[in-house]
């Protein structure tokens, strides 16, 4: 009979990932999930797959909330049969490999909210979740707010911890029990594996989190702020989500100025949280921040110290099958695009050349929920028009998109006559979406569409589980 002291000291700690996988009884064909809060600085996904490959495991389904360029080395495990398929967002080289036909079955792309719904419904059954934990204690209380690999919110990992059959936490920062405050409780975690490092700090924080200085993008951002200001929603209690792209950040900065000028006190900012959002919280411009993903160190520090800055799960954020999610309370969402078409459908997955390079994120969720969804895009990038007849991939349906803002004009979805009325006569250069397309083509002409083969390499699932589009192999 083991002594009480020994149990307390050791908790759920196991010596290696391999041992944890053996305890989890990992077998061929299982589904293994990961979260992406460490983004391009993540070391855990590659580490785990190398161990599984070394154990001779094959035919795995990988279910990451997202993969980044750092995960390119996984491709060798696809080639050798360790990985069979991916259900989850792919960014960069893994998506490109999918477009080239590397996978035998299509990548299933879901939004942040859609991923939770699929797990909840049993459509995505995870056998083992591997959670990178910047803070962990021996019993598996986990958090992201400190340590050498601090990433802030663990919003996406909540889902994996909640729905996976077995949960392995991997940490480079084992702290004395109890790790308070914790995000994921010990009641959901089976084993804790200490390793030397789970992430590269400078790559956890995205390098793109700077307000753009590009004057063209600043024009777009300023128009976004005008649209928001005149939308009819710009009153006390206003809520918004703005991404971490340069235009979105600049738009937030302009909205902030306008809130100050108008003396408006907002309700909340949701989604990916940045230092800019934190500043607005601390200035009293917003009551709270609802954080599913912290994008920079200021956001990480704020999550640890600001009472108005709350961590939320992906389900709380965007799951349409939950009993209520945050996106449905949003007034304004400012979102990007790689293409927009004449029906206001938005593509964020494939580039103009048809290659799968991006995940969905919360795009379709916030678009569906927000009272006003604003898509920002330059009219053309390089030699490619961004406004087209039909997008190559429908990520977010046009019915959920209200306004498209470019540097040369602002198009309002004809379905939103109310909004159009509010914006008319306010100095906003309103144009038809077809005119934006014509303007783009005056510069670029109409490029030849990319060619696709028969093989389907990607499936875009809407947040309710409906398949809204497929992506075919590039030829």
């Amino acid at each position: 009979m083991p002594s009480i002291g020994k149990r307390r000291e050791k908790g759920k700690i196991v010596a290696s990932l391999e041992e944890a996988f053996r305890l989890a009884e990992v077998r061929d064909g299982m589904t293994i999930s990961f979260h992406h809060h460490l983004r391009d600085g993540d070391l855990v996904v590659n580490m785990a797959l190398d161990v599984l490959a070394g154990m001779g495991i094959r035919d795995l389904v990988l279910a990451p909330s997202a993969l980044f360029p750092v995960h390119e080395s996984l491709l060798r495990h696809v080639r050798t049969g360790v990985i069979r398929s991916i259900e989850g967002s792919v960014n960069g080289p893994v998506g490109r490999a999918a477009s080239e036909g590397l996978f035998s079955s299509p990548v299933i792309l879901r939004s942040h909210g859609g991923r939770v719904r699929a797990m909840q419904a049993g459509e995505l059954r995870v056998d083992v979740a591997v959670l990178a934990a910047p803070v962990a204690d021996a019993m598996g209380n986990l958090s992201g707010i400190s340590g050498p690999s601090a990433c802030g919110s663990l919003g996406y990992a909540f889902t994996d911890a909640r729905y996976a059959d077995r949960v392995i936490a991997v940490t480079d920062n084992l702290v004395p029990y109890p790790a308070v405050p914790f995000s994921i409780p010990q009641t959901l975690v089976d084993w804790v594996v200490p390793v030397e490092s789970i992430g590269v700090p400078e790559k956890i924080v995205s390098g793109t989190l700077r307000v753009t200085r590009d004057p063209l993008r600043l024009i777009i951002a300023e128009q976004v702020a005008k649209v928001v200001e005149e939308s009819g929603l710009f009153t006390d209690g206003f809520s918004m989500q703005a991404g971490a792209g340069g235009i979105s950040l600049a738009a937030s900065a302009f909205i902030r100025e306008r809130m100050k000028a108008a003396g408006i006190r907002g309700s909340f900012i949701s989604g990916g949280i940045t230092g800019r959002s934190v500043e607005m919280l601390e200035e009293g411009l917003f009551e709270s921040l609802l954080d599913v993903q912290s994008f920079d160190l200021e956001a990480v520090a704020s999550l640890a110290s600001n009472r108005g800055h709350a961590e939320m799960s992906a389900s709380f954020y965007a799951n349409t099958a939950s009993k209520g999610c945050v996106v449905d309370m949003l007034d304004a969402a400012v979102l990007g695009a790689t293409q927009v078409d004449l029906d206001f459908n938005v593509n964020v997955n494939t580039e103009s050349d048809g290659v799968l390079l991006h995940g969905i994120g919360g795009h379709m969720d916030t678009a569906a929920g927000a009272a006003v969804t604003v898509i920002v895009t330059p009219l053309f990038r390089g030699r490619m028009p961004m406004i087209v007849d039909s997008v190559l991939t429908v990520t977010t349906p046009g019915q959920t998109v209200d306004v498209v803002v470019t540097e040369r004009g602002v198009a309002v979805n004809p379905l939103r006559k109310d909004l159009l009325e509010n914006l008319r006569g306010k100095g906003i250069p309103l144009v038809e979406i077809g005119d934006l397309k014509k303007m783009a083509e005056e510069f670029t002409g109409i490029p030849k569409a990319p060619s696709f083969g028969e093989k389907i390499i990607g499936i875009v699932e809407y947040r309710d589980g409906t398949i809204i589009d497929t992506i075919r192999q590039r030829i």
Partner: protein, 297 residues
Amino acid sequence: MKAKRLRRTSLYVPGTNPGMLANASVYGADSVILDLEDGVPVPEKDAARILVRNALRAVPYRGSEVTVRVNALSTPFGRDDFQEIIPLAPEAVRLPKCESADDIREADALMTEIELNNGIAPGTVGIIAITESARGGRNLSEIAAASPRVIALNYGAEDYTADIGAVRTKEGRELDDIRAKVIVAARIAGVQALDSVFGDVNDMEGLYAEALRVRLLGFDGKSVIHPRQISVVHRAFTPSEQEIVFARRVMAAFREASSRGTGVIALDGRMIDAPVVARAEKILALAEAAGCLSGER
């Protein structure tokens, strides 16, 4: 009517950058300057000339007047610039290093020849003359009067102050003399007076102060080197509420007097003469451009 065109801001765009050439008109400048001169290093003059020519052919510059700063005819590049650019009929060329009426006449003759060779009505392309030396400063009146093509006078602050031996300062007192000369010569000739650039693209307060000062001196506009400077200059060129109210009253009195068939206009017991009416017209044009009259900004 070119002289009447609003030219509060003229944005310099280097002729070597295709992206900037394509997007030059989206920033809201009244006029854009596709630059072949100082913004282009000598080894890239040929390439820039081709890029600017193609931009004039293909880029739809909606909303902004399009002009080209060519190289002076005294340089090895000027003549080729004219041959490439004039057939595409930009609204004006900006002619640097204008020292005398001869410079204008030489350019005029060449432009007429090229226009005729290309089926363009002679005189279609205007000239905005840029003076950059003491000699040019002395001859501004004859430069302005040398051709009906001349629609505006401008000066190059850096070259001019270097030529007269002045030191460039933030306050710009060293430019008082040339500014006065440009204004007077422009008004005598009935053309516009355009101020030079403000070099510090990060000092918006300094830019605003300078732009406001030159508007009050009588300038019609100012050149800018960064899109961020445009809205600041436009703000400085936006008349105050009192100016707009007074201008409206002057115009109302003018219309009322005209309808009565009298040339005598009185407002608040004071006589209003033609310059006051002209000033009121200009104020209202600036106000309209700034969106102060229609609620548009």
